[in-house]
Symmetry: C2
Subunit: 136 residues, 2 copies
């Protein structure tokens, strides 16, 4: 079993009950959840949980390199626990967000050669996933 307390502490985040529960949810459900999704899943377990705490905690996790926000263009922000460079694919049929491996990132070299200092890279696709494609 993973030691969530340790994960938080290593990044300088004090492991409160709420923070541990939220991190546990992120690690066990890699579904790029929104604040609302996290809140609704955890409220059963932590009945006093406030939505504000979820907002605060995710902002804190982000600042300390524990999650990354992903902006799919819809109204709510999603959060991703996977941090290494990868792309996202959002299916417009089922609305699921898929992680896509980037096997070849040579395309970044040209940008760096042109003198741009890249701190963050987001690659995002919209379309129809294999499962929904088959259904039609």
């Amino acid at each position: 079993m993973i030691n969530i307390k340790k994960i938080l502490e290593e990044k300088g985040v004090k492991p409160s009950h709420q923070r541990i529960t939220i991190m546990k949810f992120m690690l066990e459900n890699k579904i790029h959840p929104t604040v609302e999704v996290i809140y609704e899943n955890i409220i059963k377990e932590l009945p006093t949980l406030s939505r504000t705490t979820v907002y605060n905690t995710l902002k804190l996790f982000e600042l300390n390199g524990l999650v990354q926000p992903i902006n799919t263009g819809d109204s709510e922000l999603h959060y991703d626990i996977t941090l290494d460079l990868h792309a996202h694919f959002k299916c417009i049929e089922c609305n699921d967000i898929f992680d896509i491996d980037i096997v070849n990132n040579d395309f970044l070299d040209k940008v760096k050669d042109d003198g741009f200092n890249i701190l963050d890279t987001q690659i995002y696709f919209r379309g129809i996933c294999p499962k929904c494609k088959e259904k039609k």
Copy 2:
């Protein structure tokens, strides 16, 4: 001189005075403007212009393939008149948004091979641009 009326008509958009003015601004200022930036620049020329008209017009342009929205993660949506596949780089110092050519898009092949039907691709970098890098 470009015939803006024709550009709109070819995409099935009726060329009203407001629409022509907004399209003209987009074509002459490729700065990935927000609704607010467009509004503030055009209000001098069209004193009765409503912010709602700018919102409506950009949504209409988007639906008819005349502009694409770009989401930089800040609160306002930007719009881009350049439609061919390219990336964006946002400088965290000067806040400018740069267009970045994609010289090699082989990385898309793997995604397609995996059965994903890509309808839209967004590539977005955050970092420090060459000019701001030099200043420091």
